[in-house]
Symmetry: C2
Amino acid sequence: MGTEDKIVSWICRLTVITAFFLVGIVIGWFVRTTHVNHGQTSKSFLRDLLDEMQAENIKQHLRKFTRLPHLAGSQQNLILAEQIRDEWMKFGLDLVQLVPYDVLLSYPNKTNPNYISIVDHVGNEIFNTSLAEPVPEGYEHVKDIVPPYNAFSAKGQPEGDLVYVNYGRTEDFFKLDRDLGINCTGKIVIARYGKIFRGNKVKNAMLAGAKGIILYSDPKDYCAEGVEPYPKGWNLPGGGAQRGNVLNLNGAGDPLTPGYPAKEYTYRYPAEDGVGLPKIPVHPIGYHDAIQLLKNMGGPDPPDNWKGALNISYRIGPGFTAGIEQNKVRMNVHTNNQVTRIYNVIGWLRGAVEPDRYIILGGHRDAWVFGGIDPVSGAAVVHETVRAAGKLMSRGWRPRRTVIFASWDAEEFGLLGSTEWAEDNARILQERAVAYINADSAIEGMYTLRVDCTPSLHNIVYDITKKVTSPEVGEEKMSLYESWHKRDNWTEQNLPRISKLGSGSDFEAYFIRLGIASGRARYTKNSKTERYSSYPVYHSVYETYEIVERFYDPGFRRLEAVARVRGGLIFSLADSVILPLNCEEYASSLNRYANSIYQLAHKHPDAMKQYHMSFDSLFSAVGNFTDAARDIHQRLTHLDTSDALAVRMINDQLMYLERAFIDPLGLPGRPFYRHIIFAPSSHNKYAGESFPGIYDALFDIENAAEPHKSWEEVKRQISIAAFTVNAAAVTLMPVI
Amino acid sequence: MGTEDKIVSWICRLTVITAFFLVGIVIGWFVRTTHVNHGQTSKSFLRDLLDEMQAENIKQHLRKFTRLPHLAGSQQNLILAEQIRDEWMKFGLDLVQLVPYDVLLSYPNKTNPNYISIVDHVGNEIFNTSLAEPVPEGYEHVKDIVPPYNAFSAKGQPEGDLVYVNYGRTEDFFKLDRDLGINCTGKIVIARYGKIFRGNKVKNAMLAGAKGIILYSDPKDYCAEGVEPYPKGWNLPGGGAQRGNVLNLNGAGDPLTPGYPAKEYTYRYPAEDGVGLPKIPVHPIGYHDAIQLLKNMGGPDPPDNWKGALNISYRIGPGFTAGIEQNKVRMNVHTNNQVTRIYNVIGWLRGAVEPDRYIILGGHRDAWVFGGIDPVSGAAVVHETVRAAGKLMSRGWRPRRTVIFASWDAEEFGLLGSTEWAEDNARILQERAVAYINADSAIEGMYTLRVDCTPSLHNIVYDITKKVTSPEVGEEKMSLYESWHKRDNWTEQNLPRISKLGSGSDFEAYFIRLGIASGRARYTKNSKTERYSSYPVYHSVYETYEIVERFYDPGFRRLEAVARVRGGLIFSLADSVILPLNCEEYASSLNRYANSIYQLAHKHPDAMKQYHMSFDSLFSAVGNFTDAARDIHQRLTHLDTSDALAVRMINDQLMYLERAFIDPLGLPGRPFYRHIIFAPSSHNKYAGESFPGIYDALFDIENAAEPHKSWEEVKRQISIAAFTVNAAAVTLMPVI
């Protein structure tokens, strides 16, 4: 070869060597990348997961878990826990534990039943309410059906005149006291179920001085029009009654161990110091019995909107029970509180990249009786999610972050299982938990989706529902999102409606106490046309498998859709490289809430002037938050997602945003409600209130005994809210 | 070429190409590694940093910052803040801010001075205490020297008999009440300074019903033997007196905005609801004046150990002030509380790898007068640390994590600047802060090092002191560690002594409220032979530059050594790949504390039996913690430190360990003291108490009015401690 040739040859060789060398560098780079495992969002896996969840499986799970009653603390509920543990292990979770706590529960006395009597002037019981609900066909031989009762009622046999207090809401007692001049002190009151959490009714009755309270289900609130009572339809029969606890825990969990998990060694307060236990007897009855108590009462006519659907001439009382002046009402309540062992089932699916980041899917397992809707429609969905996730894992997939599945116990007794576990694990949860998705009843109606969640989850909820098909007949080509949007448009946003979280289910401790981004989704009724409370057979013996299978969801397509929404949320949160939490949505929600509380205060323009009230600090804070939210999402668009630490750092900022709204000092008088933006309403645990500290300070302020002090408290609460929103904004800013 | 040759040639070429290819892969791998930047511990940089800090510079900083008085809230202290800000920027920090708060301060009335009188039977003031300290030479023309006073004293002119209460400790008042039968109700009491925080003396006096309290410095407590008063020596002259606040804040920060930063918009409680403000007048005097009040008092002889070194015949009182029966004592206190703007200086040095992890070096700037020792000996050290860090940065170095430098304001008024900033930044600190090192006075004696810190920092403290030379003459070849070990051996460990953190300086909010690993280091006296309290001229006008330069540290080698310890700790924490926090040391400390509190309870063997007391749960928890601590350090030995996420995850566990000891519910009656393992003693803010909840429940339990209730509270506190230690153990375990 000539010199030139040699040179050319060497150049060629060098080029080849250099090329290989460079390719090597690139490979090295990416092998390294793979090693760090940035876990790109597994869109195909999400699709596979959604498709893996199937109506027929959910149906089978529901059938299996509703054969026998499984009340919290019962042997049957432990057996069910063990069964779920074993199946979750088989499905492929990495670790499944039964986690016990010893909490205060409450059961009727088996030998001394609870009932209400009408007694005549010589003390004879001339009418007694029924001791149990007629058992539905097919369940006649089932043992251990607990009769209707209100858990944690005080014991006692108070006797006296009866006063009808409508729904027993704060405004109902105001009406009685301020407009109707009726004093409830020393009386037995009767309230219809509905509108608000029953514990609030009991608290209001105690504050009004009542010595007992009877709760009944009025057909106006528990029967849909044109629907037959169960088993012909899904309405509540006249002999049915709603069970339910009547605690005012305000998030404390087990009444005897507030703030700490109810372990064997945990100190327990004496029963008389227990948190939230009512001091008066409470008992629930159905409408057949209620008629007997309410007919031909004395006292004035009630306002029209107080009248139920019972076929009686309504009067408020007191006295004249069943039309006879000397008749009194006697309550006979012998319910016992007792410390009882409960069991959560906790399943772990280890994350591949960030095992120390937790996404939680939790729902309760305990039921008042069979739990056909509450909770097993939800528990069946969790079960199917675990099964589907296991299936994907068997194909080699793992999500980026850890997923925790929980089957809570004793939710019906005050969210006890979930709250004790939150207390037990508060340290690791506050450092590591990304989000909590609740899985109570998956269905309460047949119309459309209902979602309550923290604002930062709105976008991912919409995204997931676009990936799910509508379960409605005739909408096979429509997404769940489209169907939902069509059926429940949130007009001001032109989006499907999403509401604030209230309470009354197991997300409470996670969201309101610990500040973990939370949400819930279920299928619901048409809130515009269906005016009954909850669903008619709620907490009755008629909540069976059959009511779901025959009426609520014959094809199990609605439950399947809910499963896909819940499961889709969990695995998007677990697997996205960048957490799908939207701070700008939080900003716009804060802006709405600030305007709304400002409007509320401005219903008192004179006082606002007199006491130099200003919301400027709050609006300024919301402005700062809005800027910080916009800015972090802009930074996200430039993020090098191959830089593992950069991703981790900004995800930490997103994750800890919800935590920033937690004030360790809690809300006034409610130390376990610590979220400054959201809390259950002080007047209805079920409802969510925004800026609850300010709201409560403003409540009924026109009747304040010391207006100056009351308005000072409003100022203090505005200051706390403004500081909290500002502090949250700072968490979103660049870390230096 | 033959075929064989060709094959050989090709094999050669392939080998070369493959080799280059592999080298490329390796390079790619490591370039990637560099990109993620694991920031190996910069041992050489640490050495450079320690060497960069120099005695002569510290001397100059001290000189510069002690020329004029710089009381919190004064113009001079703002000027100093601006000067520090400007110099820190020049030194090279990334960001330096003045951060203002508007807090409640307290100043004497300039036109109506405070003093104490002896008044005769017709009300004439026959003796008045001096209005000011004699000003030291060279400072005669200095304006704005605040006279001795007790900040936040109530105003008033109470008059009455005087009772001598020794140090005013809990046990002193017990002695008066239980053994000596002397009732302080309606009396003015006089206590000597020393042994405990003065605020506790005032609280005890209020509880005893006193209507005023005089605090004086006894030579027994404020003069070293064989030492001349300043300026000839470093003892307190007879005309000198100790200033100081007399709050009982229990960690609340600004008394009017407990729990929230004192910003412009923050709600302020009315003055009468301020936290920790004494309700009685308090005034400090020197021993020349004290003699006049105490000589020839009435009442019984005090116990021998109550007698000070004053040349008087001691009696306890009441009455007979200065030997005349009808003489009374009158206090004249006109001090005003007023909301005043203060300024922290906050400097940021951005971390190269994990900017969202913060290490804080903070100390106060405000002084009662010149602050020669307190705080400027500390502030000069911080200044030198910033200078040295800047120097290294100019050579291209940056630590792995972010370092925050703080010059706090209004420490002397209740740790206000540091607490308000902690409240303001609680969210980001609890997510991101790794450690807090305090930098108050760097010297209080001339003997050896004194370190108080959280157990997890013990090892790194020992490591750093081994890298620093002893500052003592004749010990040039000895490390600080060796010198310290020789001078203050912690016998049971055969290590230099390290103590628990108490309070009384700015680490309080960071450690006790937020649960950030904290420590402090300073040069101290020989605690075995030098029995005086603090240092003699503490909080007097005699704390000048000259007292340090002439007596405490003529070569500034001791301050240099302290600078190197503090700076070395900060930069080791900021720069080590694995955080140098030792969980096993925490375990062994917990074990010691559990044994110690168990022993304390067992001083009541009968009650322990009667009330079925058990510490089993606590010991079991300490066992769990010990196992978890051993296990995490074993996992650390196998850690792939090139895996950025693995390092981050285990560092998070180490960082959050201290946080795990925080109980959001706080200690009983002390909501801002939330650390379950450590709190300032309820009887002396300066001292640290371990398992403070149990300790306080046991305190004086033999005299409890309702023993059953008191022992129940002990049980409750044991249960809380056991749960907290267990929960902390869980944070160290594998994350799933």
